[in-house]
């Protein structure tokens, strides 16, 4: 399985927290601790978790927006996290990103054409101005944007329209791989379906690979190929999107699934005890989920479980007791 389009090996991300310059303590936030994933061409790899689990940091590390503290990032077999800008530039065409908030991801002072032309001009300097224009119009048509939008500014558009423009920007250099960081969570319900359908269509037409970051498991169920469930900077469970709903292995995954409100109702009849994410600055020595886990034993509090294939399935889970 070395033909992954994107692979991370033992990715670590630590952020030093601001302190007084005389203070002796140097608190460090562990955003990612040893994340290894492989994303295969053409699939929709979903990363699910709650805020603070490191899912956004993972996407940003792959895109090179944050430099990993340790570990490696590969794109088509080439290590990219240590490349200098000149080496990395040709690869940037093939990797793009769609952000969560369409109200912040478009520069408010640039019209749509300028926003879309910039990636081509920077990453494909060989293109003539006519080609740039043609490419921008093609991508606008492909993402369901009207060609007349080109001279208008972002504030003239609704959230859904802006997200289409942001998707168009990500596609304008014809990338193979797109990181989509919660691309629908800032949108209204009736618009979410439009954007999800657009992403599905584009994947079919262009053979795109997605890294889809979300907190919403129902989207994963509909949209994902494989899914990684993250908690406190670690992958807790890695499974096919279909199997994870039928047969979740990790207790945290089960908790997440239980938390989804159902249209049939009736799943919140019993009170639930407050559970909290442990402090990411001082993570517990054992399993990070142990303090909330109903089946946790002493071993869980002392020894951190490794991601392992659960016998009799294709799922991998980081739990001593998963079976």
């Amino acid at each position: 399985m070395s033909d992954a389009i994107v692979e991370t090996r033992g990715l670590e991300m630590r952020f030093a927290l601001p302190t007084h310059f005389l203070s002796r303590e140097k608190p460090v936030l562990h955003a990612l601790s040893g994340v290894s994933i492989k994303i295969m061409p053409g699939e929709t790899f979903c990363v699910v978790g709650e805020s603070g689990c490191g899912k956004t940091t993972l996407g940003r590390a792959i895109m090179g927006l944050n430099t990993p503290s340790a570990g490696e990032v590969y794109f088509n077999g080439k290590r990219i996290d240590q490349m200098d800008e000149a080496e990395r530039k040709p690869i940037r065409r093939d990797m793009q990103m769609v952000f969560q908030n369409p109200y912040a991801s478009l520069n408010p002072r640039r019209n749509v054409f300028e926003t879309l032309a910039e990636p081509i001009r920077h990453l494909m300097p060989e293109k003539t101005e006519t080609e740039v224009r043609a490419q921008v119009e093609d991508v606008l048509a492909a993402t369901g944007c009207d060609p007349s939008w080109q001279r208008r500014l972002p504030h003239e558009f609704s959230g859904g329209q802006r997200q289409r423009i942001a998707i168009a920007r990500a596609l304008v250099t014809n990338p193979a791989f797109i990181v989509a960081d919660e691309p629908i969570s800032a949108l209204d319900v009736s618009i979410q379906a439009q954007i999800l359908n657009l992403l599905t269509d584009l994947q079919a037409q262009r053979g795109l690979t997605y890294l889809f970051i979300t907190h919403d498991l129902s989207v994963v169920k509909h949209f994902g190929t494989r899914v990684a469930v993250m908690y406190l900077g670690q992958v807790m469970e890695l499974a096919d999107a279909e199997t994870i709903f039928e047969d979740p292995k990790h207790p945290y995954t089960q908790l997440l699934l239980d938390a989804i409100p159902k249209l049939e109702g009736g799943s919140f009849e019993r009170p639930r005890q407050p559970g909290e994410l442990p402090d990411p600055v001082n993570p517990p020595p054992g399993c990070p989920f142990a303090p909330r886990c109903s089946i946790a034993a002493d071993r869980c509090r002392s020894e951190r479980p490794k991601l392992r294939v659960i016998p009799g399935s294709t799922t991998q889970a980081a739990c001593h007791f998963a079976e």
Binding site: R60, E85, M97, A104, S105, N107, L123, L153
Partner: protein
């Protein structure tokens, strides 16, 4: 974001803004077209006559129709000198703000975007600069300059010196404003989007972040022009600014001040009124701009 049309509507619906705008426009036009409008060229020694000195305004006994607002001790018409002097004051004010802006915006942008020790260093530098009064720096620098060169050289370079000194002394105001806006902007996703395509930091800063931080810069620029004009007037009044033969509003006020107790108040009064009108108009416009461009105070139609 506010459109030009919305901006214009706002302007036209605010009497204070219209008033301040008209006053400023009149003063600027007067200064720009002074060579055409002024009855006399106060820089041209050939046109001056010592016999005309210290004449009162034309409507007073002893006044002369050639000099509407009277003349000063050298026989220059007060009206003409005001027209030319306003130009010099405005030139120094705007010039100083351009210098402040270039320095302050560049350093503020770098401090805000790069962060870390560069930020700490530049901001401490700004703190030090701010803790020294502009006037004090200017007095020391100009006094040294006056002592080092003779009066003719000084007269030739006075404008440039004033622009540079007031400009350099006040950069921290721009730097701080820009830095705080940059800190707000640089974590927005459009900046990440620009970094994803691998734009170098220089381009991200100047092409993406800077245009989104210009609103507060515009507001403080207006107020800083007024401030610079005041600083220049104060320096000139102390005898450290513009020389008497190329007077700014400040040096005019000073040149008349010696005569104020002997009754020739007009030499000081009229330039002072123009100075007040100019500074007030600029400050009112600055305040109005701040209110209009501040999205938190704006509501409704635009």
């Amino acid at each position: 974001m506010i459109t030009w049309r919305g901006f214009l509507n706002r302007f036209l619906s605010d009497p204070v803004a219209i008033g301040a705008g008209i006053v400023l426009l009149l003063l600027v036009l007067m200064a720009v077209f002074a060579p055409l409008l002024a009855p006399q060229n106060p820089y041209d020694l050939m046109q001056l006559d010592i016999m005309d000195s210290e004449m009162p305004p034309s409507w007073m006994p002893g006044g002369d129709d050639r000099f509407l607002l009277g003349t000063d001790a050298q026989g220059r018409g007060v009206l003409s000198t005001i027209m030319y002097g306003t130009g010099i004051s405005l030139l120094i004010g705007i010039g100083a703000v351009v210098v402040q802006g270039i320095l302050g915006v560049t350093l503020g942008l770098i401090a805000g975007y790069k962060g870390g020790w560069i930020d700490a260093f530049l901001m401490r530098l700004a703190d030090i600069q701010m803790s020294l009064s502009t006037l004090m720096i200017a007095i020391i620098a100009l006094a040294l300059f006056q002592a080092a060169f003779d009066a003719n050289v000084y007269a030739d370079y006075a404008i440039i010196m004033l622009i540079l000194i007031i400009g350099i002394a006040e950069w921290p105001k721009f730097a701080r404003t820009v830095r705080s806006s940059v800190l707000g902007e640089k974590n927005k996703e459009y900046v990440d989007a620009a970094r994803v395509i691998g734009l170098p930091a220089r381009k991200v800063m100047w092409k993406h972040i800077l245009p989104n931080t210009l609103t507060p810069v515009l507001v403080i620029s207006t107020i800083q022009v007024a401030e610079a004009i005041m600083t220049e007037a104060a320096l000139s009044f102390l005898g450290l600014g513009m020389p008497v033969d190329r007077p700014s509003l400040g040096s005019l006020i000073r040149s008349g001040f010696e005569f104020i107790f002997s009754g020739q108040y007009w030499i000081t009064l009229y330039p002072a009124l123009v100075l007040i009108a100019l500074v007030l108009a600029l400050n009112l416009l600055g305040d109005w701009l701040r209110d209009v461009l501040n999205p938190k105070l704006r509501r409704g139609d635009d």
